[in-house]
Symmetry: C2
Subunit: 116 residues, 2 copies
DNA sequence: TCCTTTAGTATCTTTTTGTATACTATATCA
DNA sequence: TGATATAGTATACAAAAAGATACTAAAGGA
């Protein structure tokens, strides 16, 4: 671990990943490479169009994903993970692994409190 | 990488780490093990007492840190990283490493746009 | 002619986060 | 006697993130 927390660069990665739907959007794009807007929407039950657009725009802004518009009617827009975006994969993987391993931790704490 | 984004557990880790001061607080505690409230405050220029208390409470709630009160006047309260909290270290490390490596990426993008 | 599809935008409201500022108790020190 | 240090709480406010809902264009099909 870095010996100088004051030089902390954790927030650089964190600020890109923070957003209610960003991690799951990235997981889908990392898995499939490219997805249409409507495919993403169908993959994310509960998301509104506004939120999806908004999260995609922010990821695009950071050069994590790219957007390709096909001049058709009805419109077709494809989103792909960029090379740079792929560098986030180890972080997402680490968090997913952690989450999978420790899902029960909090629950156990709550239960042991509740039963005391 | 997990092949089923719909079983995504990334948010479990993310929700613990999200908070303006949490990562840096954790880095300090991971480095030193234990710190007093006032030591933490001095280590975090710009943080208000309310925010520090608040972030510490949330981390304590998640069992990432523990709080020990010494019955003295003036009061003394020590915060330590828990064993469970230490399991977050690889994630923080991955993010810090990513941030360090890619700090220049965005800047370069902005510059190349600005100069076009 | 009207309905459907796609990928959005525009508004408004609610919820969540973060900031600013003032206040507290109590032992010790000058 | 009055200032200082510690670890907070209380209150009000501002800003950011998220949610709900309605609206758009334009080709193709029934």
């Amino acid at each position: 671990m870095e010996k100088k927390p004051e030089l902390c660069r954790v927030d650089d990665a964190l600020s890109i990943l923070v957003g209610k739907w960003k991690p799951i959007i990235l997981l889908h794009l990392l898995q499939k490479g490219t997805l249409r807007f409507s495919e993403l929407k169908r993959s994310l039950p509960g998301i509104t169009q506004k939120m999806l657009t908004n999260q995609l725009r922010e990821l695009e802004e950071e050069d994590i994903i790219s957007r390709k518009v096909y001049p058709q009617v009805p419109p077709k827009v494809e989103y792909s993970i960029t090379k740079y975006g792929k560098t986030l994969e180890p972080i997402l993987e680490a968090m997913h692994e952690w989450g999978t391993k420790h899902t029960l931790h909090k629950k156990n704490k709550v239960n042991s409190k509740a039963s005391s």
